[in-house]
Every structure is written in structure tokens, then in C-alpha cells.
């Protein structure tokens, strides 16, 4: 029975399945529109953000780790000192997200009933910066120091012997906080996954207050009043960042092959990698000729796709589906929102194109080290 569950989890946790599942399920958990909201309510998914939901979630996570601890294969990954922060991260993320969503839902209910948000009714929840806030933060700081000291005493730092260029570990993993980036490198060239995307993430987050001019929901928890923004952010944060870290930590084994959590990390495992560029799809597979010698002609379609995606698509959207939104926020904000939003969306799109069509690059110009 337990073995069957493990096998199912192994199958489900394949990135194709789990990523798709998360992507599909996500709008039902953080419903961005009324339609999703309806289903969210109908199937009781909203209960996740209630107290029973909290216990259920905590139980599910704990159950997974406990079963994993007693599984000979998962045990190895789970008990590595390097992976301890990931376990903490999963718990802390669930707890903090649940806590904010729980309060947001309470407030949403109040707002619906014409009441003010909880925060307005409860002066006890206000603090003075001096001395209250500073004092509390100071106590928190001390307690956190205690936690770090005890952690460092109990779990020895996973320091290893001097690196040896002749004997690199397999798999070679980045520090846990970079595993999301390392996962992106599977799908993108280093200059995109390692430079452009991280820069966009940082600049994009700095730009959020300038792009999101929704005045509602300031100073109190609320989901309904800014559900689209929260949906987009949470998808980027949870699925496109944290989930990739979890994959990188627990599911990537020797040769960067994918392994389910309960699977043995067999270094002999071979996965065929026959990835094909878009230009090869067009010229070789569809038109049945060789690749044109001229690089620009060869990669012309790729450039067209890129221009269509980043240039034409926003204009079409502004004219049709997002017409009201475009008028509301103006062309400058719209441009930046599209730039960051479409870049973010490019990650799952590329992942799916890889999984579905073995697509390697949309534009492939290794001659110039320019691949997208």
C-alpha cells in the first residue's frame, strides 16, 4: 500500500506532471477571476485557508517527510545537512502563506458584510516603532540567534574537502537558494537564465509598486481586492521559484536526471536528449531541406516568433482583451507590465515546448553565443 503511494508520488512528481498539475491547480487555489472563485468555493478549496486547512496541510507535509525519512532512498536526500533549509522553507512558506491568506479571507468576509478590515477594529495590533517595534524586533533577533547557534551546533556544516577539478561531484548542485536558477538553466542559455531573468526578477519586484496602482488592500490583509496581482505574484514565487528549488533539491540526481523522491539515484540511468531547434523544425522537418547558410534567414522564424511574442502580442491584447486595463493604466505602465509579465510567462512556455516538442532553442545562433 505504502509502496503504491510511493510509486504514485514518484510518477506524479515528474516535473512534467507536477508542474502541469501545479499550474492548472493554481488558479483554483488563488482564484484570479469570478469563474475560478466559483469553483474554488464549490469544491471547498477555500477551506485550505481555514484552521482545518492549516492542520491538513501541516499533516500532509509532515506525513510526506516522515514517510520519506523511513524510505531508504529518500532518507539519503532528506537527511543531508544541505537540504535541511529546504525542509524548513517548505514549512515556513506554508505557515506564512496560510497565515496571511487566513487573515485575508476573514477580512474579505468583513468587507463583504460592509465592515472594516480586522486591522481597523483592533488597536492592540498596532505598535509604536519606539520602543515597542524595536523592542520586539530585538527580542526576535535574539531568539533567531539562539536558533542559529543551536542549529549550527547540532547539524555540522556540510563543509567538504578541497575541490578537485578532476573529481567533480555528480550531481553538482548549486547552493539551495540558487537551485531555482540551476533548474532554469536546463531550459535556457546561461545568459538568459543566469543574467537576464535574475535581473528582471529584481527590477520587476522593485517596479511592482509603480506598476500596481490598485489602492485597495493597503495596510490590511485582503485577497479579493487584488486577486489578479496576488495570483500572478504567487504563481511566480511559489511555482516558478520555490517549486523549482524543491525540484532541484529532492528530484535531481546523478547526471541531473530527474528522480522521484523514493527512487534510487542510479548513476547509470540514461534519458534520451534529442532536442531540436525551431529552425531545424522549420527547415529540416517541415520543408525537408538543409539549413540555410545565412544565419538570419535560418533563424528568421525564431526572430519572428520572438517579435510576435514580445512586440505584437501586447498590442493585440491592448486592443482587445486588456483594452480597459490598458486605458486605465496608460501605455508606459502597460509596456513594463507586459515586458516583465511575458518574460515570466516565457519560462513555463519554454518548459512546455521542451517537454512537448523537444524544442531546444527558438533562436539558435551558437556562432554568436546567442540562443533563446
Amino acid at each position: 500500500m505504502l509502496q503504491t503511494i510511493k510509486d504514485i508520488i514518484d510518477i506524479l512528481s515528474a516535473p512534467t506532471v507536477s508542474f502541469t498539475f501545479l499550474t492548472v491547480a493554481f488558479p483554483f487555489v488563488f482564484p484570479p477571476t469570478d469563474w475560478f472563485e466559483k469553483i474554488h468555493r464549490k469544491f471547498g478549496i477555500w477551506r485550505l485557508w481555514t484552521k482545518p486547512g492549516f492542520y491538513g496541510g501541516m499533516f500532509a507535509i509532515t506525513f510526506f517527510f516522515v514517510v520519506g525519512y523511513f524510505d531508504p532512498n529518500f532518507h539519503v536526500t532528506l537527511t543531508k545537512a544541505d537540504n535541511f533549509p529546504i525542509i524548513l522553507m517548505i514549512y515556513s512558506m506554508f505557515i506564512t502563506i496560510w497565515w496571511s491568506m487566513y487573515q485575508a479571507y476573514l477580512n474579505d468576509e468583513r468587507l463583504e458584510n460592509g465592515l472594516k478590515p480586522n486591522e481597523y477594529n483592533d488597536p492592540d495590533d498596532k505598535v509604536l516603532v519606539w520602543p515597542d517595534l524595536v523592542y520586539i524586533e530585538f527580542i526576535a533577533l535574539i531568539l533567531f540567534m539562539v536558533f542559529l547557534i543551536v542549529w549550527s551546533i547540532l547539524v555540522a556544516a556540510p563543509l567538504e574537502e578541497p575541490a578537485n577539478p578532476a573529481a567533480t561531484p555528480n550531481p553538482s548542485k548549486a547552493p539551495w537558494y540558487f537551485l531555482g536558477l540551476q533548474e532554469m538553466l536546463v531550459y535556457f542559455d546561461p545568459w538568459i537564465a543566469g543574467i537576464v531573468f535574475p535581473m528582471f526578477i529584481i527590477i520587476g519586484m522593485m517596479a511592482i509598486p509603480y506598476m500596481d496602482i490598485n489602492k485597495k488592500g493597503d495596510g490590511y490583509y485582503s485577497f479579493k481586492e487584488r486577486r489578479i496581482g496576488m495570483f500572478i505574484f504567487m504563481y511566480g514565487w511559489l511555482v516558478l521559484w520555490l517549486f523549482l528549488i524543491v525540484i532541484g533539491t529532492f528530484f535531481r540526481g546523478p547526471n541531473w536526471n530527474f528522480f522521484g523522491p523514493f527512487e534510487y539515484w542510479d548513476a547509470h540511468k540514461v534519458v534520451p536528449l534529442n532536442n531540436v531547434n525551431l529552425s531545424e523544425y522549420i527547415w529540416v522537418k517541415t520543408l525537408g531541406t538543409g539549413l540555410p547558410a545565412n544565419i538570419l534567414i535560418r533563424e528568421g522564424i525564431g526572430f519572428l516568433v520572438l517579435v510576435a511574442y514580445m512586440g505584437i502580442l501586447p498590442i493585440l491584447l491592448a486592443k482587445s482583451w486588456l483594452k480597459n486595463y490598458f486605458q486605465e493604466i496608460g501605455p508606459v505602465r502597460y509596456t513594463f507590465i507586459m515586458l516583465f509579465g511575458l518574460s515570466m510567462l516565457a519560462l513555463p512556455i519554454k518548459m512546455y515546448m521542451r517537454w512537448l516538442f523537444n524544442l531546444k532553442y527558438i533562436i539558435a545562433i551558437p556562432e554568436w553565443f546567442f540562443n533563446i
Partner: protein, 998 residues
């Protein structure tokens, strides 16, 4: 300040939380300190200190017990002296107080004197300035200055006298005091002398045991090890040895090794801890290692230079200890929470394999002392021909391990050869020829067919002319097998060969000694192999068939050769004969040829090439591919493959190969460490193909040598010794040997198995087990380097003559070059520290010494002629006691050596029957008839032993007569036979009688 109502939070509540968190923080901080300071090595050091205290206390008790009685009288004496002194208290006190006063006075006078001296220095300057500069301007004070200077000098003199007078007073008083205390001091010194050993232990205890410390020392002992303060001079500290000549490779740079092992292995150089528990136990071989008098002192070699491991590790796990066995591993995991630090590239060598490290510095030695397992492994590499296929730069192939196959068609027939190639051990159970076929990865019916076809193709190549060996003339070459057996046992064949048809009789206990006797093949089944004609010709003159063979020529007569041939041909192997002949499969032939063709060419080309090949061409092609695939030329000379490249992995640095570069395949029940891999590979070379789907051309092909467990362990040690760890040149053992030829000579001695017959450097001579009495076996070559003249030895090697006429065993004629003989001679000379090639001739004058020697050698005394030939003059005693011809001594021996030899033959050649000559002592000359008995010359020497021995030497040296008595001896034995063995019991009695005479 803020009023409380301005806050939304309850400050008291926060204060409480602040208090709680602060206490927690403090607690965690203290915990951190404890955790940080409680290193594993400190625990060991504390325990060791207790152990040392216990031992010191026991020692103290012992020492006290030892002086218990003796000390009483000394203590009494000391007490008496003290009592006398005490009775003179009054006088002593007055002297003491006088001394104090005098010292006070001296202090004053001395100060006056020193003060005045500095005044004078200043005045002196003024006067000197006046002397040289004269007066430039202003008033002239020179006269005045000089006057002051002189007055000051007078005053100084006055002070000086006063000071000196007081000094004398002080000295006198001190002398009086000393005189008074003399008796007490002397008796106390005597007592201390008696208690010296006790004091030594007490001092030690005061240093290590707090119970014996003064209060302040107790405090100091506690404080020195407190956290932070322990940066100064703690008791518990990391102990390290920096070894600049042994380098540790940290990628891109080499740093000196820093060994911290002694932080826990605290008793390693102290012989008192032989029985202590680890980690305190003494090193098991202090004579060779660690002690300052040994060749490997700890300060120069450290620990990890030999043991490897993580030198800077200060805990059991971080030093990367490695277990010897699975049981040890389990025990370590329980006791020490052991786990392997798997990224450390040089884990400690399990103690089974520590000898592997010797090779780093001892690369050229034929035998590495105290490293028998490594020597065995290296020997096996040569014997099995490992370095024929695997390049080992520091241990290169010196000769092909297997026989020359250039003329194999004269020796063998095709069917026999094919069956042999397929399964050599089914013919000769302990052959070194390995099994390529019928292994784990090629024993399927399909592979067997393929392999059979390959074998036939290779055999066809080796027998190009199609001529077959015939046995129809066998009777012409076979004599008396019984006599043949006697000759085989007596002439020295067994120095290198055994004849043992029974597999079970071969000892599993293989060692560097045991391999001496199977230097050559086990000579069984020769009746089922080749022809008598070939055997006859081979033993008559081995180098005719194979010019490079190590098999020497025993100068057999035709009849001897025939008898031995008959004996060897009497061993047959019916099972092998009954085995089915191996057949070639044409389909397989095509398939193999096509497989190789298409590996390098397009399939179309392969097809057309194959279609154009005749059957013979296909056979040639497949034979060529097979030779190259199996690497036969690694061990055999095969015409056409003289320059073929060896096929195996290079093993030059195999011992340092990272474990992830070794392919464990699908074998999981094995430790992921290199030695486990090597071991498994040697036990079953194809094991790592298990479960793999490889095409026939890509399968593992290392053959199975059928190594025993001991051999495998030895080989693993040798492979581990091929390490890339660097040591500086001055560490290399060959830096201390002046001549390259010495190593070459020792290698040749090993290669030609001289130690199969002779004891050389206290090793070898196993043939004595077959022959029996040591005096009828080949001689012990101890002191050979200073025994014989190099020029004689060289001549003897090239053309051996009879030296010991009582030996039936023969010194063979080896087919060696002048270079090789020179190397061997040089290695003998080096061992005896006699490196001269040319020496002044020893000249003999017929003087009293000579005459005395003549007398001592005469029948009255030494009776040398009893056993020794005097030229062509036969010895008086029977053939069994015969000894070398003394007329040969002048050409053969070195004059100095003869004296040493005569002085005590047993020292030079243990077990020799040569007695030390009788030398009269001067008291014997007092006898009335002394002059008649001893002669005036001997009496004149007056018992000077050296002179008498030199006299005998000179007598021998001057002996004239026939030098080479080979012919005479041979004729004698031809006429009288050589039958000592049968009369052994009688001879023993005779020997006793002989000795009684002495």
C-alpha cells in the same frame, strides 16, 4: 520619557520575553563554547594523561620500593650532618649577619666606584678633545681639564681599593659558611644520588598530575586550558609534524604535509605503550620507523607520508581512517560513528596495504625490506606480465613474461596449442598463463563459438608453414627415466622448477620465498606436449630455441639430457589429451571479420571487403584482430607484433585514481573504495561487465590469472603503491646508493632466480630443501663482494668451473651480457662495501709468518689437505668432504677476506663444515717439547692470532698447482659414481669423529 499609556504593548510582558530570550541566548552561547572546545582529540589527550599518571605512579612505587633499604643509611647520615650544623646555630647566625652587613657596604662602594667611572668617561672626552682640536676660540681650559681628570682618577682608584677590600671580606665569610654547611650538602647530594630515579618520576608526576602540584601550579594548570586563554600554552593542544619533503597536492600547488596524528596517537614513539589500547599504542616497528635512530625518523617522514589519510584531521572520522574489513567497519561505525569522507582523495591505507607507500621512495629495489607483501605484489606483476599490457612508468616491463612464440611450430602442434590457449590450467593447474575464455562475460554458447574461431585463427597464424611436430623419433632422445629423475633433483633444476601433478599439493601460502621454486613452469604433462626431440634440444641449449630465455645451460652431456628428457616425458595428462579439438566455425569467422571491418569502415565497404577475402585472408585478418584485442604480444614475442602498443589501462598512477574513475558497473555489493575495486577485478577480471549489453568487441578482456587470496592482496598492495603523491628527491632511497648498477644487479639476481639456489643478502637458497645437507647445496653467497676478485668472478660467470668438488649441483652457464655480469658483481661488492674493480696484488714473502702458516696448515695441525685439493693432489678424505682447490685461491679470492674467513668460517657461511684452524696460545710454548711440536717460526709469532692467520693465508696464496680441476673431479665421479645420499647415516657418524679430533 514615555508614559506607559503611550504604548500599545505591555512593556512588562516584553521585559519578561527579553529576559527569557537573553537567558536562552546566554545558554546557547555557553553551549557553543563547550561544543567548540570539546574536541575529540582533547578527550583522548585527557585519557592519555590519566594513563600516563597511572603508569608514573606505578613506576614511582616501584622505584621507592627499590631504594627502600638503601636510602635509610643515607637519610641517617644527612640527619646527623644536619644535627651537627644545628648545634652551631650561634656561629652560623653571626656569620650570616656579617655577610649581610658586608654586602651592604659593598653596595655603597660599588656605587661610588661606578659613579666615579662615568664621571671619568666624560672628563676623558674633554681631555681628548683638547688634545686633538686645540683651542679654536674662547678661553683655554685644557690645563684645568687635565688637572680635574687626573684628580678624578686618583679618587677612582681609592674607590676601587675599598670595593675590592669588601669583596675579599665577603668571599672569606661565604667560604666560612660554605665550610660549615659542607657535610650537610655532601650527605644530601649522596641521598639525592640514591633517589635520582625516584625524583625523575616525581618530577614527571608534578608536571602531569594535579595531585602532586603546588596550589599555584594547580591554578595555572586549570587556567591554561580555558577557552580563549588557551591560545598561549595549553596542555591539551593539537600536536603536529610539518614534513617539508612530503608534499600534499591541493590542485595546482603542492604544500608540505602537516601531520596531526600524534594529537591522539600519543604513545606512538614510546615503547612503554606496546600493550596500551588504541590510539595510544606504540608503533609496531620502531626499529624501522619513527624513532630517531631508525631510517625513517618521525620528524622527517611524519605519518601520512606512509599511511595517507587526511593529515590535518583531528578526529577519528576526519583523519579518514579506513577499515581493513567489513567487521572492522561495522565496529568502527558503532564505536566511533565512522563514515568515510568520500571526497578525500587519499584516504588512509587500510593497515593491510600500508606497505604500498614504501614504493614511493623505494622504487628501484628488487626486494624492499620489511615490505614482503609489496615485494610479492611487484614480483607477481613481473611474473604475470601485468606490465606487458599495462604501462607502469616506474615499474616497466623488463622482459616478456611468457615464452617466445617465434619458433613455436617447432615445439608444439596446433591442436595442443589451441586447447592450451582455450584453457591453460586444464593442462598445467598452476600455470601463469591466464584464462581469456570461458569467463563470466564470454561463456555463452554463441561467445564460445566465436572464441573458438578466434583461437583457431591465432593458432593458424603461429603455425604458418603447416609443419607438424612428430613424436616418432622420441625413442632416440629418451634415456633412463630413473636416472633422469636423480639428475633432475641433483643438478639444480629444482632451483627454479617443481614437478607437482597434484593441484592440492601446491601450498596456498604464497610468499616471496615460495615463488623462488616456481620460477620456471611446473614441469608436468610434458609427455602430452610436443616431442622428446624438442625437450632434449631445449635442455641441451635453451638459447638456441629462444635467444632471450632466462633458462640457463647446465652443460648436460648427451646421456644426461636424454635421461632427463625421459623423466620429464614420463608425466602425461590424459584428461587434456582426451579433450575435444577446437573447431573453426566459418560463419563465426565471417561474423568476426565483418564485426571488426564495420567498426572502422562503412558497412558497405565492410561487406565488399569481406566478399573479396579468401578463407586464409579472413583467418589472417581475424588472427591479427584477435592478437590486438587480447594483447597476446604483451607477454609473448610474436613475429610481426614487436612494436605493438600494450592494450591495457596505464597503471602509473592507478593507486591515486579517484574512485569515481573506476567503473563499478552494476556491481553494488562492494565498498566504493579503490582497493575493493582492484581486489574484485583481480579475483574476477570480467565482473564489472555483469548485466551489461556490450558487443563482443567492447567486452572486458583482462584475462583471469586464477590468483589466490594472498596473491590478490599482494597485487592490490602493489597497485596502490603506484601513487602520484610526490616526495622530494632527497627522500628517494636510491639517492643513498652510489651506483645504478647495484639496483640493476639486484634485479638481475631476482630475474634469473639466483636465490633459488644461493642465499644472497640473507634470502633464498630454497633448493637446500630438495638436496638436503647445506654443505652439498649451492654455497651461501654472504660476503661474496669482498670474497672474490671481481675479475675472477666475471670469468667464472662466463665459464663456470668446478670450485666445490663435492657438489653434484651445477652452477649453470647463464646467457648474460658483460653489462649484466658487471651489474651483478657490483651489487655483490656494494653489499660488502667493497667497490674496487682493481686492487694491488697481494705479494707473499717466504718469511717466518709464512713458515708458521705452512706448519699450521700441515697434517700436524690444520690438515687442510684432508678436505682441500692442493692443485691436482686429491684430498685425503673421501669425496663427500671435498673442499675447494687451494691452488685457486690466489686467482679467486681476496687476500683480506681469507684472513676473515679463517678467523671464523661459521660467521661468514653458517652451517659450513670448514672448521676454524687451530691456533696455539703462547702458554703452550712453555712446554718442554714446544720447539719440536710447534717449530721455531710458530713460537716466534708468540700467539699473534692475526699473524698466524696471515701465515696460513700466505701459504695458501703461494700454493702452486693445477687451478681448474673440473676435469679431474668429473672423471673421478664418472668412475666412482656420486652416491652420498645413500650413505648419509654413516657419514654423520664420521663427522662426529672428525670433530672430536678438533
Amino acid at each position: 520619557m514615555f508614559k506607559n499609556d503611550e504604548r500599545y504593548w505591555n512593556i512588562h510582558q516584553l521585559n519578561k520575553w527579553f529576559a527569557i530570550s537573553s537567558i536562552l541566548f546566554m545558554a546557547s552561547f555557553v553551549w557553543m563554547f563547550f561544543d567548540d572546545n570539546d574536541d575529540e582529540y582533547k578527550v583522548y589527550q585527557r585519557n592519555f594523561r590519566q594513563l600516563e599518571i597511572q603508569m608514573a605512579e606505578a613506576e614511582l612505587a616501584e622505584e621507592l620500593e627499590a631504594v627502600k633499604i638503601e636510602r635509610v643509611s643515607y637519610e641517617e647520615k644527612a640527619q646527623d650532618a644536619q644535627n651537627i650544623l644545628d648545634s652551631k646555630t650561634h656561629l652560623a647566625d653571626s656569620l650570616e649577619s656579617r655577610l649581610v652587613t658586608l654586602k651592604g657596604i659593598f653596595y655603597k662602594h660599588n656605587m661610588d666606584y661606578q659613579g666615579q667611572k662615568s664621571q671619568i668617561d666624560a672628563l676623558k672626552y674633554l681631555v681628548e678633545k683638547d688634545n686633538t682640536h686645540g683651542v679654536t676660540h674662547g678661553d683655554d681650559h685644557s690645563v684645568e681639564n687635565r688637572q680635574t681628570f687626573e684628580n678624578a682618577n686618583i679618587l677612582l682608584h681609592d674607590y676601587k681599593l675599598k670595593k675590592e677590600a669588601t669583596e675579599t671580606d665577603i668571599d672569606e665569610t661565604e667560604l666560612l659558611i660554605k665550610e660549615m654547611n659542607r657535610a650537610v650538602k655532601a650527605s644530601t647530594e649522596d641521598l639525592n644520588q640514591v633517589l635520582a630515579d625516584v625524583q625523575l618520576v616525581q618530577n614527571k608526576l608534578e608536571k602531569i598530575d594535579r595531585k602532586h602540584m603546588s596550589f599555584m601550579n594547580k591554578v595555572g594548570d586549570l587556567v591554561r586550558d580555558l577557552p580563549i586563554l588557551d591560545f598561549m600554552n595549553p596542555y591539551y593542544k593539537v600536536k603536529q609534524i610539518v614534513v617539508p619533503d612530503i608534499k600534499y597536492n591541493v590542485n595546482f600547488t603542492q604544500v608540505p604535509s602537516v601531520d596531526r596524528c600524534t594529537s591522539c596517537h600519543l604513545g606512538i614513539t614510546n615503547p612503554d605503550f606496546v600493550d596500551a589500547a588504541q590510539p595510544y599504542r606504540t608503533h609496531p616497528n620502531l626499529d624501522t620507523f619513527l624513532s630517531s635512530a631508525s631510517p625513517h625518523p618521525m620528524s622527517d617522514f611524519g605519518c601520512t607520508g606512509c599511511h595517507s589519510g587526511r593529515a590535518r584531521g583531528t578526529s577519528f572520522v576526519s583523519a579518514v581512517h579506513m577499515p581493513n574489513s567489513e567487521e572492522e567497519k561495522v565496529r568502527w561505525e558503532k564505536e566511533y560513528d565512522w563514515e568515510q569522507m568520500h571526497h578525500w582523495l587519499q584516504p588512509m591505507l587500510p593497515t593491510n596495504y600500508t606497505e604500498a607507500s614504501c614504493f614511493k621512495c623505494h622504487q628501484k629495489e628488487a626486494y624492499i625490506n620489511d615490505a614482503d607483501q609489496l615485494t610479492l605484489g611487484l614480483s607477481l606483476i613481473e611474473k604475470s606480465g601485468c606490465n606487458g599490457c599495462h604501462l607502469i612508468q616506474r615499474y616497466q616491463e623488463r622482459r616478456k613474461a611468457g615464452p617466445d612464440l617465434a619458433k613455436v611450430s617447432e615445439k608444439l602442434d596446433k591442436n595442443w596449442t589451441a586447447k592450451w590457449i582455450k584453457a591453460p590450467r586444464s593442462f598445467r593447474h598452476n600455470t601463469r598463463m591466464p584464462h581469456f575464455f570461458g569467463q563470466d562475460n564470454n561463456s555463452s554458447p554463441e561467445m564460445t563459438k566465436r572464441n573458438d574461431t578466434e583461437i583457431i585463427a591465432m593458432v593458424e597464424y603461429l603455425f604458418p608453414d603447416g609443419k607438424e611436430v612428430s613424436t616418432k623419433n622420441d625413442h632416440l632422445f629418451m634415456g633412463d627415466a630413473v636416472n633422469g629423475e636423480d639428475l633432475f633433483n641433483a643438478l639444480g633444476c629444482r632451483g627454479c622448477h617443481i614437478v607437482e601433478p597434484d593441484e592440492k599439493m601446491i601450498s596456498e601460502d604464497i610468499s616471496i620465498e615460495s615463488i623462488l621454486k616456481d620460477h620456471g613452469p611446473n614441469l608436468i604433462g610434458l609427455g602430452s606436449k610436443g616431442s622428446a626431440e624438442w625437450v632434449y634440444n631445449w635442455i641441451k641449449n635453451p638459447s638456441e630455441y629462444w635467444p632471450g630465455t632466462r633458462m640457463p645451460d647446465l652443460r648436460l652431456s648427451d646421456q644426461e639430457a636424454k635421461d632427463i628428457t625421459a623423466y620429464l616425458r614420463s608425466f602425461t595428462n590424459p584428461d587434456f589429451e582426451a579433450m575435444e579439438n577446437i573447431e573453426l566455425d566459418k560463419n563465426q569467422l565471417d561474423k568476426i571479420a565483418f564485426g571488426w571491418l564495420s567498426k572502422m569502415n562503412t558497412e558497405a565497404f565492410a561487406k565488399s571487403s569481406l566478399a573479396n577475402m579468401s578463407h586464409d585472408e579472413k583467418i589472417d585478418y581475424v588472427a591479427d584482430k584477435s592478437f590486438r584485442y587480447y594483447g597476446c604480444f604483451g607477454c609473448h614475442n610474436i613475429p610481426g607484433y614487436e612494436d605493438a602498443k600494450p592494450i591495457g589501462t596505464e597503471l602509473t598512477f592507478e593507486g591515486s585514481k579517484p574512485v569515481d574513475k573506476l567503473d563499478f558497473g552494476y556491481i553494488h555489493d562492494i565498498e566504493h573504495v579503490n582497493h575493493a575495486w582492484f581486489k574484485r577485478k583481480l579475483e574476477n577480471p570480467r565482473i564489472f561487465d555483469y548485466g551489461k549489453e556490450s558487443p563482443a568487441e567492447d567486452k572486458l578482456r583482462m584475462p583471469n590469472f586464477g590468483f589466490s587470496d594472498i596473491e590478490v592482496e599482494a597485487l592490490v598492495t602493489a597497485i596502490l603503491s603506484f601513487s602520484e603523491k610526490e616526495v622530494s628527491t632527497k627522500m628517494l632511497a636510491d639517492q643513498y646508493v652510489s651506483d645504478e648498477l647495484v639496483y640493476e644487479g639486484r634485479k638481475l639476481i631476482k630475474e634469473f632466480n639466483c636465490q633459488g639456489c644461493h642465499i644472497i643478502d640473507d634470502f633464498g637458497g630454497q633448493i637446500v630443501d630438495v638436496i638436503g645437507p647445506p654443505d652439498l647445496s649451492p654455497p651461501n653467497l654472504n660476503t661474496q663482494g669482498r670474497k672474490t676478485q671481481p675479475s675472477w668472478l666475471f670469468k667464472f660467470f662466463n665459464s663456470p668451473t668446478t670450485i666445490r668438488p663435492n657438489l653434484q649441483v651445477r652452477m649453470p652457464s647463464f646467457n648474460m651480457t658483460d653489462d649484466q655480469w658487471n651489474s651483478i658483481i657490483r651489487s655483490f661488492q656494494y653489499s660488502d662495501n667493497q667497490l674496487l674493480a682493481y686492487e694491488t696484488d697481494h705479494s707473499v714473502s717466504i718469511d717466518a709468518k709464512y713458515k708458521a702458516g705452512e706448519k699450521l696448515a700441515s697434517a700436524d695441525f690444520g690438515a687442510c689437505n684432508n678436505c682441500h685439493f692442493y692443485g691436482a693432489t686429491f684430498p685425503i678424505q673421501g669425496a663427500q668432504a671435498w673442499a675447494p682447490n687451494l691452488a685457486m685461491a690466489k686467482d679467486r679470492l681476496r687476500a683480506d677476506w681469507i684472513v676473515d674467513w679463517l678467523n671464523d668460517p661459521m660467521v661468514i657461511m653458517p652451517g659450513t663444515k670448514m672448521p676454524a684452524p687451530f691456533l696455539p696460545t703462547p702458554d703452550l710454548f712453555e712446554d718442554d717439547y714446544a720447539a719440536d711440536i710447534y717449530g721455531k717460526h710458530l713460537i716466534a709469532l708468540d700467539g699473534d692470532t692475526t699473524a698466524m692467520l696471515e701465515g696460513i693465508r700466505d701459504f695458501i696464496w703461494d700454493m702452486k698447482g693445477q687451478k681448474d680441476i673440473s676435469g679431474i673431479v668429473k672423471n673421478y665421479f664418472n668412475e666412482n659414481g656420486y652416491k652420498f645420499g645413500e650413505e648419509e647415516s654413516d657419514d654423520d657418524e664420521d663427522e662426529w669423529d672428525d670433530e672430536d679430533e678438533w
